[in-house]
Symmetry: D2
Subunit: 364 residues, 4 copies
C-alpha cells in the first residue's frame, strides 16, 4: 500500500498522468513553522534545471496545502498536500498499452491489475510520484531541525563513474550549488559526459546516491525489527529503480576481517564515540551519536529508445518496442532527493517514537 | 520493537544468556499440519555440525510449542514457541561489562538502556536470537508450501572468496548436503580454509548469502511502500550483522546501460515471462511469476581475539579489550538460515494479504 | 491520527472551514466498478433536505476523485477524494476564539495544540469531517457488494423518543424514503417534534442509531483483539459525539440470566445458525453467518444558543458564551450515515484480511 | 489477532487447557523497576478468594518472566511472561466436543477453524486468557506510575443490582478490601445474594464495571481515529463477554439536552478544567486533565447448567446440552481486573506515543 511510518505517518496517492499526486502527513505536532516555501524549496531541489536533458521545460510544481496548517504553523492535524499534474501529452503512450516496457512495472501491474492500470508515464510506478515523498520529507526535515538533525545526500556514482575524493558533510552541502550534487568535480564532468553519451545512444544509465544525517542523537532505533538500518533499507528500496542498499561501508565491510571492520570505541570531547564510522552510525541497529550514512544503488531508467523485446498482450505475440516519448536518461538525481526525504521521515518517526519530540503540546 | 509482519505477524523475545528465547506467531490459518519435527528440521539446518569450529558441542535446541497447535495441526490461534537457553558459563563476559565490544551493539545499548542491558553473549542483539526467527520461518515455509512456493538459500561469498560457477535452484538444494551450502566445491574449500585461517589469527570473516524463492505467484507486493523488494530489504537488514542488500543483480544493474539491464519480456509456455531475471523476480516491487532472488552481505563477527580499542565506561578511560570467550568466526551460515526464514515470512505475509490463502476457514 | 484499517486502509484530512476535507483509500483491489455517482449517492444520504432545520441550504457536496480510478473502475492504487469546503462565513466564530465551547473539542485542542488549532466550525473535530468517512464507506460498500453484504442503519432514539415497533431489515431500508430513517412513524413524528422544540429553545438533542449488516459470511474477526465487536466499537466511538456502543442487545444482555441471554443454536435450512440474535451476529467476536447489528448513542450537539459557562483563555477569567451561529440541533442523522460507512470499512477490511476478496488479481 | 497497541505493544497466546498462556510486552523503556511481585499483585487481584463460588481452590498462578528484566529492572527489550496452566481435568468437555455451547465462541470457532479448535475450558476464547492481559496491565500500571497516573475500577452492577451511592476514587480503592470491589455495601450484599441464587438455579449473571484513571495529563489521544474513547472502546470490547461500552455518562448523555450534557468549563486552582465530568475526561477524544472514566457491560457467563438447545455438529441434528463441569457464575469481577489492565495499556501507549515517556534513554 501507499502508507508509511508509525508515529510520523504518510499516505501518498496519484498516477503520473492522472489529475494529481499528493500526500497526507500525520503525526506532526502542532506549532511547527511550515510554509509553502519549505515545500517549494525541497521540490525545487529535484528540478536540476541546469542539466536541460533532465528537465527540458524546467517548470516549478504547482501544489496546494489543503489542511493541517494555520498561519504558517502546523495544527497537529493531517497535512494534505496536492500536486497538480500538468496537462501532458499522453499520446506517446498509446503504442505502449498492453505492450509492457521491459524493466518497468507495466508487466507486474498488468498481471495484478488486469486492464485497470494507468500505464501513461508509468502511472502509479512513475518516478514522478516521488514528488509526494519530497513534500513529506520537507515536513520531516523541519521536524528534525528541532533536534538539530540535518539530512543531505549526494551522487557517488553515475553511468559507471565513481567519485574518488575524500569529502566532508560540508562538501556535500556545497555540492548542491553545482548542476548535480557531486563532490568530485572531475567525476561530475565525467558523469555529465555519460549522460550526454547515453542520450545520444538512446540509452539510459544508473548509479548510486549516498545520504548523511548529522547530529543524530543516540538511542534511536530498537531491536530487533525496528532497527534504523532496516527501516532505512525499506524506505530506500521503496523508491522506484532502487536495487541495492548499503549501510555504512556495506559490501566493503563484508570483505574485511573483524579486526578491520570494527570501529574502535574512543573518548571524544568527553563523550564515548567511534574513532571511525564504517558502521554508518548504528550499532545493533541503534544510533550512537555518530552521523548516519548509507548508499543506495539505482538501476538505469528502463525507458530507452533502443528497440526492446516485449509481448503484445492483446495478441499474445512477440513485439518489438521502440519508445519515442521523452524519458529520463537517469533517475538518480531525483531519486537522491526522494532518498533524503525518506531518510528524514524514518529518523523523525523514530524521534517521535522515542519521545524526543512531544506531541501532547505544541512544538518549540 | 520485536514485532514483524502484517497478516502473518510475529513477536520475538529473549536474551542470549537469559532464561529463554522465543516467538509468538499469529495469523496462521487453522488446519495447517505442523509438528515439532517441522520446527526441529529448520533449527537443525542452522547447526552446521560438520564444521566443528562453528558449533563445537553440536547439541540440538530444546524447545516447546506452548499454544496454537492441536493434534498436529494449527488451531488458527497464536503459536507460541519457547527455546530454552542452556545454562551457559557467562563468566567470560564479566570483563566486558561496561567495556563495550567494538562492532557489537554494546555501546548502542549502553547509550539507550544505561546499566539495564544484558551484555552476556550479546544479550538481545545476539545472533542466537535468530533461532526464534527460524522457528517462525518453519511455520511460514509450511504455509507457502500450500501455494507450492519453496525458499532456499546458499552462501555466495565468505572471507573474500566468491563462488564462480553457474547454478540452478536444484544445485542450491543439493548443496545443503555439504558442510556449508556452497554450490561451488572449489570455493567451498577455499572458504573453509579462510575459516580456519581466521580462527588461527583470532579474527573473524564476513560474506554474503543469496536466497531464492521459486513458484512465487505473480501479483504479490504493492505500490509504493509494500514492495516485495522493500519488505525483503527490511527483513534482511533486521538480521544481526547484515550490512547490505541487493535485489536481483543489484549493484551490477546500477552499472549497466538500460538496454542491458532490462529483462526482455517474452512468451514462455503460453504465459508472459522474462527472458532473463536480473530484476530478481519483481517489477515495480511486484512479483511477476519468476523466481524471487536477492543477496545480503554480512560483516565479520565483531568478536575477535585480537586486542581492540574501547572505553571503560565506569572510569571513562580508554581500555584495550582482549576477548577470551568462544565466538563465531563467521555468522554467515546461521544468518543465511535466518534469511530464508525472513524471506518465507515476508512472502507468506504477502500471500495472506493478497488473499491467496484464506483465513475464514481451515486451510487445505 | 487520522489513519484507520489494516488491509482496507484510509487516511482522512481536513478542517471544517479550511480549504478542503478528503480521504485516501488504499487496499481496494483493481477492477471494482466505482463512479462519482457511487460516492454522490452516499454523500446525498447525509443531506436530509426534507428536514430544513438540519440542512437549510441543501446544496450537494462538491468533490473530485484525484486518483486510483480509470474508466469507471478502480486501479488497485490509492483512491484520493477531495471534498471542497464552501466559502463559508466564519465570522460567528470570532467570539469563540480562545473561549472554548463546553462539550466541544475546543478545550482539548487548546491544551494539546496551543494557538494552532482551527476552531472555526469545529475545525478538525467537526461533524463535517465525517463526509470523508462517508466517501470511504461508499467504496467499502461496493467492495462488500461482491460478497453480497449489505449495510444499512436507522435512528432508534432521538431526543428521548424511542421507537417501539418490531422491524425487519427491509423496513429499515424502506425507512430511508422518509425525512429521517425511522421505522416507527409515530416515533418519527415525535422525534421531528423534539427537533422543532429543541431549536425553539436554543438547545440540542441526542439519540441513538442502529446499524445492520446482512449476508455477512461466517468466520470474520479473530481472537483476541481483532474481534468484530471490538473493531466496530473503535470505529463507532471514533465518530464525533459518540458516547456509547452496544453490540447486539448490549446492556439488556448484561441484565439477563445466562439461560435467557444465550441464543439457542439450531438447524436452519440445513446449516447451523442461531434461533435468536441477541448477540448481534458474533460469538467470541467472530461472525457466525447471522446479521451483524449494534447500536451507538450520540450526545446532543454541544453547540446551543443557551448561555454557557466557559473561560476566556487569554484573560484566564470566566466567560459566558452565547453562540449565535448556525448549529445542528442534532448530529444523529449524519452520524448514522458515518456509522454505516465505518461499519462497511470494518467488515470489508476483515473480508480482505480473511482472504474472501483477493488482491493479487482484478476483482469480479 | 492477538496483538495490541502501537508503542506499548503486546502479543498474547495460549488456550485455557493447553500448556500455558502468556504475553510478550514490548516498547517498555529500560530502567523501570519490575519484579515478580508487581505481576503477582495484579494476578492476585483477580482471585476473589473470599467468594469461594468464584474461585473454589484459590490457588495462586504459577508464572515465569522469561526475558526483558535484569536485576529487577526492565531492559527495554520484550518482556515475555508465561503462565503455566494447571493440569486440569478436561473430561467434562468431552460431551461438548462439536456440540457448541450457546453464547460461547464454540460455534464461531467451529465455523472458522473446523475441527482444529481447542474447546476445552473455552480454549482461546476462555476468560482465563485475560490473565495474560493482567500481566501486561501490571507493567503498564508501573509505566503510568512514572506520570502519577493511577487506574482502578469497581463493580457498579451485577445480576441486575445497581449501586446507588455517591463515591470518590478513594472509595473505589477502599472497596478492594471487600470480597468484591463494590462501593455500596447494601448493593454488595444484594449482589452476593444474586450470585448464590444464580448458582443454586444453575444459571449465571452479568453486570457492569467502571474504571477510573486519575492524574491523566491533558493532550493524550488524537483526532480522528486515535481518540482515547475509541481506543478504550476497542480495548474493552476485546474482553470476553463485553457487550457494551459507555464513555463517561454514556447513554444518559444521549438522553439529555445539550445545555445539560455539556460540562461547564471553569477555572480550578489557576488551571482550566471542567465543573462536572459527564464526558469521562475527554473532549474530541483527547484528555483534558480530568479523570478518565467509563463503563463496560458484560453478559452473563454463557455456561449454565440449565438445559440448552444446540446442534450436534457431527450428526447435524438438534441436541440438548446439560453442562456438568465447573463454571463461573459471573465473569464480571475478573473482567473488571482485565479492564483495568487494558485501560492502563491504552493510556500508557498514548503516553509513549505523545512522548511523555522517553525511550531513547532509561526511565526514571
Amino acid at each position: 500500500m501507499s502508507f508509511f511510518g508509525r508515529e510520523l505517518r504518510i499516505a501518498t496517492f496519484g498516477e503520473s498522468h492522472g489529475r494529481a499526486i499528493g500526500v497526507v502527513i500525520d503525526g506532526v505536532p502542532a506549532g511547527l513553522e511550515l510554509g509553502e516555501e519549505d515545500i517549494r524549496r525541497e521540490l525545487d531541489r529535484r528540478m536540476f534545471c541546469n542539466i536541460p536533458v533532465l528537465n527540458p521545460r524546467c517548470e516549478p510544481e504547482e501544489f496546494e496545502i489543503l489542511s493541517g496548517v494555520k498561519n504558517g504553523k502546523t495544527q497537529g492535524t493531517p497535512i494534505a498536500v496536492v500536486i497538480w499534474n500538468r496537462r501532458v501529452i499522453s499520446s506517446y503512450y498509446d503504442e505502449l498499452w498492453k505492450r509492457p516496457r521491459p524493466g518497468h512495472a507495466d508487466l507486474a501491474y498488468y498481471l495484478k491489475y488486469g486492464d485497470n492500470y494507468d500505464h501513461r508515464g508509468g502511472g502509479r510506478a512513475s518516478g514522478r510520484t516521488t514528488a509526494a515523498l519530497v513534500v513529506a520529507g520537507a515536513v520531516a526535515k523541519k521536524l528534525l531541525a528541532i533536534l538539530g538533525v540535518e539530512v543531505v545526500g549526494h551522487i557517488v556514482e553515475l553511468g559507471g563513474v565513481q567519485i574518488s575524493k575524500e569529502y566532508s558533510v560540508d562538501d556535500i552541502k556545497a555540492a548542491w550549488s553545482k548542476p548535480m550534487p557531486v563532490v568530485d568535480d572531475q567525476a561530475l564532468k565525467a558523469m555529465l559526459d555519460e549522460i550526454v553519451k547515453a542520450v545520444r545512444e538512446g540509452d539510459s544509465i544508473g548509479g548510486a546516491a549516498e545520504v548523511w544525517a548529522v547530529n543524530v542523537p543516540p538511542g534511536l532505533g530498537e531491536p530487533v525489527f525496528d532497527k534504523i538500518k532496516a527501516d532505512l533499507a525499506k524506505a530506500a528500496m521503496s523508491i522506484p529503480s532502487a536495487v541495492a542498499f548499503e549501510m555504512g561501508a556495506g559490501v566493503r565491510l563484508a570483505r574485511m576481517r573483524g579486526s578491520e571492520a570494527n570501529d574502535p570505541i574512543v573518548l571524544k570531547d568527553g563523550r564515548v564515540g567511534l574513532a571511525t564510522n564504517k558502521a554508518g552510525g548504528v550499532l545493533g541497529g541503534i544510533t550512537v551519536g555518530e552521523p548516519v550514512w548509507f548508499r543506495v544503488y539505482f538501476k538505469p531508467t528502463p525507458s530507452v529508445r533502443k528497440p526492446q523485446r516485449t509481448v503484445d498482450l492483446s495478441r499474445m505475440e512477440p513485439y518489438t518496442l521502440e519508445f519515442k516519448g521523452r524519458y529520463d536518461v537517469t533517475t538518480v538525481p531525483k531519486a537522491l532527493v526522494a532518498l533524503e526525504a525518506m531518510t528524514a521521515l524514518v529518523l523523525a518517526d523514530h524521534a517521535l517514537r522515542a519521545g524526543l519530540i512531544r506531541r501532547d503540546r505544541p512544538a518549540g
